[in-house]
Symmetry: C2
Subunit: 344 residues, 2 copies
DNA sequence: TTTTATCACTCGAAGGGATAGAGTGCCAGA
DNA sequence: TCTGGCACTCTATCCCTTCGAGTGATAAAA
């Protein structure tokens, strides 16, 4: 659709209408635009322009005698061609820096704090997903012999990420076999990505001595060790912000949103998908979203680097959201995260 | 207050009123009770009894011409003296067993699933808190030398719990010093509880060789290692269930609840507190709760054992909840958790 | 040709009875 | 001591009206 041939006036009116609507949440009338913004044209002219915009499907009327609200397509144009980059305030920058840069204790703790600060600054939902382990390079694998036939497997990744998995093993396995296996695993697997390991584990370990009883726990590519470690860690904060939004005054809508927020793996998959189609900031508006339950929402997301793998952060809220501000927020947070997690 | 001297009829009426109200969420009138339950007395008599109950503060009228609803005190009597133990259905038992017993991969994963199954079966909020590390006995401490002056500290506890903390260290520290420190830490600290370690770390490590540069990171009792590891892990599921409850039709109320649910540490502290005052199932009704934000809620909680330390699980919902069922749910889940985490 | 002022029209939100119904308290009688 | 009956109270709901915001259309002005 050749949206570029909006004329200057149409661009201005659409732009004003969206800014006004984002702030007020009420349908915007021609008078409101004429008064609030000094466009030098009368309400009647604005009305005519709005009719044109409506024919193009960029705005719509909830009912005959109401003002207009933007459609998904309207927001899309706005985001793609009209939106002016916004500078993040120093206060916001500082808030992000002091959470991300100052945090210690590991990647998950940082991500947890990041989703919180995103939620607080945006007054929407803040979401972070931990780095995809599939590409993450295994740095070291450690087996710790716990009591009663239990072995704690520690996977340490180059990115600083760590996962622990508790394995049930044959009680008769002693620490001698264990350290032998441990040596073997490190020798054969360190330096590979988790994905590579999973795909080729059988071949790599096949003809290498060691106690087969214990080794068997690692041999299968579907093993708890490799699958359990890969589970996406999703951090969501700011549920209370969403409750305040007028678009979720309807309990039914709120319920649907919550439902998908609680299906962690599904949501993680959706967000991950967006990143694969491009880099930088990705904005997904309303019905562009894959899951029906969030088709009245928009997602502003970006990926961050952690070593040689990537994760995703984002903000989720109603399509009526301050895109410019949220873009700069997510962009800045992603950059700072990458800095911290990839060591500059 | 000598509530025991409720006469038989008062007990029966209170009991019926509560069961009816729990199901309907509407104020209960005398006619409703007379029709629904075969008490052999007329609505007029029930009215008189209800007046008595109201004078005792066990029920109240939202307004003059409405039925009665139970007060916190009314629920308290009901729970303490009238409630009949309920047998958990085989289906529910099976649901719990198949999540808790079948899960592998470590304590946190089990707890995550547990809070979910609690939420699903109760249609309320399901909450679990990981075992208190303060009493948890350190089994082994492992230091893994990551790239660029970073050390991954793995704390493995006897209960099967594990924590990893990423430490920034002087880049010059090599793996020789590291394994020396590692040996030293295990020698001096393994077998002690995290609490003991924190309280006496300075004395224990004071006059023991080793590279002071690295050791310093562990010496302080406020060190990231000991504090970071102790952070409560709180798993909450079932937010969507709460949205459905009529008592949270009011956005303001829902907002307040969400607010405290997002203050993880506060909530964890509150739930922990309950457990300290007793053992078995603890029910905390409405205003009995410490935090103002959940004084329109009740909490059914119990503690589980994981090795020689304990954690808490519970269900949170409006005071109008099916106490008997939730008690048996929480009880059973706590028992199964203890079984799995303490090895029978 | 484009813009503006004006006006009749539409529709939803808000307010105001009126009504129905659920439930009570009380009293007199069983 | 219990019950049936009755007058009373209060809310929820429906319907009606009104109000106002906003529109589209048209004709005049630029």
């Amino acid at each position: 659709m050749a949206y570029e041939n909006l004329n200057e006036r149409e661009k201005k009116v659409l732009s004003c209408l969206i800014s006004y609507y984002v702030a007020s949440a009420d349908p915007v009338g021609s008078r409101a635009i004429a008064n609030k913004f000094r466009l030098g044209i009368s309400p009647a002219t604005i009305r005519n322009t709005m009719q044109d915009l409506e024919e193009m499907g960029l705005v719509q009327q909830p009912h005959t005698s109401a003002g207009r609200i933007p459609t998904d397509a309207g927001y899309r144009i706005f985001v793609d061609t009209l939106l002016r980059q916004e500078q993040l305030s120093e206060a916001d920058k500082h808030a992000i820096d002091s959470t991300i840069l100052a945090m210690a204790g590991g990647v998950e703790a940082i991500l947890d704090q990041t989703s919180r600060v995103l939620a607080d600054l945006s007054r929407q939902l803040g979401v972070t997903i931990s780095p995809k382990l599939d590409d993450s390079i295994l740095f070291h694998i450690e087996l710790i012999h716990m009591a009663e036939g239990k072995v704690l497997v520690v996977l340490a990744f180059k990115s600083g990420l760590a996962r622990t998995i508790l394995l049930e093993v044959d009680a008769s396995i002693g620490w001698v076999e264990l350290s032998e296996i441990s040596r073997l695993l490190n020798e054969k697997l360190a330096g590979l990505s988790l994905g590579q390991i999973r795909r080729s584990i059988t071949e790599r370990l096949h003809d290498s001595g060691g106690d087969p009883k214990l080794l068997r726990l690692f041999l299968d590519s579907e093993s708890d060790v490799w699958m359990g470690a890969d589970a996406d860690q999703l951090h969501i904060e700011g549920t209370r912000n969403i409750i305040e939004q007028p678009e979720f005054a309807d309990r039914q809508k709120l319920w649907e949103l919550m439902k998908i927020l609680e299906k962690r793996t599904d949501l993680a998959g959706i967000l991950r998908n967006y990143q694969e189609t491009g880099s930088g900031i990705i904005i997904t508006i309303g019905a562009e979203n894959q899951a029906r339950e969030i088709q009245s929402c928009s997602v502003v997301s970006a990926s961050y680097k952690a070593g040689n793998t990537t994760g995703t952060i984002g903000i989720i809220g109603p399509t009526r959201m301050p895109y410019a501000k949220l873009m700069s927020l997510v962009k800045y947070a992603a950059r700072q995260l990458s800095k911290v997690l990839s060591g500059e």
